[in-house]
Symmetry: none
Subunit: 157 residues, 2 copies
DNA sequence: ATTCTGATTGCATATTTATACATTTTTATA
DNA sequence: TATAAAAATGTATAAATATGCAATCAGAAT
């Protein structure tokens, strides 16, 4: 039910903060209202392919693409790579991205010319998309999944 | 002397083979004639900043070329300095800033991950923040004051 | 509705990894 | 060379992380 939201939150937290352990991440998640155990978090991190690298004062979790890149990802999609999470408020969709990826992603949305989205503006790590009146968030998610199939794995449901 | 050779060997092994655990790597190293324990290997990996990512059948160790910057705490707060005013309209907050400060301030808001704000975009001297549905402007002001206490003095209405 | 199937999760625990401490080895300096 | 200081290491163990298993839940199919 809320697993996708949880994964979104994990992606967001990890890309914005230096997290040193699963316990620390777990604490942040429970602060945000998510109810889970370390076991589930471990599985989430595995599913998200979140990596851990040594840092000066301990360790740090990072989105794996940040250090895989070259060898295995032959068909690399910057759109899927930079896309972190999407949420809705009223007639707006707010898409969180890796820093500097918002323009790439907004551009992909604009070029797809999906009917459900009137237009976008892009900040540094955020895209705001204005929804056409009468469309639900589910419909918009479906539309994005259809026009940008590389994002399907990162959209809820 | 022997340590540098060992580190070289570790680098080589890790970049050429999929290693799933320190024990596995340790075994390869002892096969090559190196004499060490898991404890030393753990320290070596930390020194080499070797990361570990989940892979299909377990985990995989990799050399990470990129580092992650850790921000230092300073006395001067560009967030407080650049912040001029905030006003609300519907589910949006509009923050006026000194020219070129909008991205800094939007970024601070994004990183705070306050529940009340879904996301932001920044122009030159303006930040637009999308509020989560159900929150009043007063609640948002309180949240900003809590997450960014350096702004407290500037949030009176 | 009932049954089946697969996904999700917590609990308990196994496995893996990091580290405090003591010791040895190396390096630097007088 | 002798001595002090720093680096490297092993042992034992703490700390962190992964996972087998059983229970629960969500959908799909009958």
């Amino acid at each position: 039910m809320s697993k996708e939201k949880r994964l979104d939150a994990i992606r967001k937290i990890i890309s914005n903060h230096k997290i040193g352990s699963q316990e620390e991440l777990l604490s942040r998640l429970t602060d945000l209202g998510f109810d889970l155990t370390q076991a589930t978090l471990s599985r989430d991190l595995k599913q998200l392919k979140v990596g851990r690298i040594p840092s000066d004062n301990g360790f740090s979790y990072i989105i794996s693409q940040k250090f895989i890149d070259s060898s295995e990802n032959r068909e690399f999609s910057p759109v899927a790579y930079g896309f972190l999470a999407i949420e809705f408020s009223g007639n707006l969709a707010v898409i969180k991205t890796l820093p500097a990826y918002s323009h790439t992603i907004a551009d992909a949305i604009d070029k797809s010319e999906m009917n459900e989205i009137l237009g976008t503006v892009a900040g540094n790590d955020t895209v705001i998309a204005v929804l056409r009146e009468g469309y639900s968030s589910d419909q918009v998610i479906n539309a994005i999944g259809n026009f940008l199939p590389e994002l399907k794995g990162k959209l809820k449901q």
